[in-house]
Symmetry: C2
């Protein structure tokens, strides 16, 4: 088995996995100062995008979209609630369910966030086409990994 095979060697720089891991770490670092202005962390920003698209979703619905479970989301949502960005309320019709609603403050953050995607694109140094291609490849990879895991 040749060591120049990028998939099958144990050399760090051959690994897709390390490229993915380190790019994600770099991405989070790049977003940090932008999101700090909104008072959000990166995962919190993702949750907010889910809720800006449709308010009042349940913890499970948010989790299905982000591929996160309640062990991650519950503490995160509580922190956002403590910052008066959203409210968590058990549904009257089914007390197991917790519905998450944005406050006025939470909704207003959407306007402040409007410049974030453009700034982020700038930092990538990629054309929109390149970004689309890369995004689609990563979505496919994620789908495969979750199916074959």
């Amino acid at each position: 088995m040749p060591t120049y095979d990028p998939a099958l060697s144990l050399k760090l720089d051959d690994q897709l996995c390390f490229a993915l891991y380190s790019a994600t770490n770099a991405l989070k670092k790049m977003y940090r100062p932008m999101l700090e202005r909104l008072g959000l962390t990166y995962p919190q920003y993702l949750v907010m995008m889910v809720l800006w698209e449709r308010d009042g979703q349940t913890v499970s619905e948010i989790g299905d979209k982000l591929f996160l479970d309640s062990a991650t989301l519950t503490p995160l949502l509580k922190r956002l609630e403590n910052h008066s960005i959203l409210e968590r309320r058990r549904a009257a019709e089914d007390e197991r369910i917790v519905r998450v609603s944005l406050t006025a403050k939470g909704n207003s953050l959407k306007e402040m966030a409007a410049t974030v995607p453009g700034e982020a694109v700038g930092a990538t140094g990629c054309t929109p086409d390149e970004l689309t291609t890369l995004r689609d490849a990563l979505v496919q990879l994620r789908t495969d990994l979750m199916a074959n895991g």
Copy 2:
């Protein structure tokens, strides 16, 4: 600004950032059962790859390769030391430096890890060419993000 522009909208599924983030989470989950057999976490596996390539590196050298700092590495290395996988020793010629050396057990893990990359490739459902292309795109992205961050 059209909302179908994948780069500039605030819709979750348009975001490269979310594709990257969620693919990395899926990747770590996929690796977990494989690495559990070696008694390693995913970041620990990366550190081991660095040391299998060249033993006796300093904390900074490991950090330079993985883009991690001592705040992350020191506790991780201590855990590996507690499992007798490596040893940490201050250099006699410069007491600031900590040099990390594999134990026999740490070296022997390399053989057990030999099947991991192949298994991982299988789970991706990608051809080697696709993996190489994606890896190179991610390395380029990482480079750009770290330069423009």
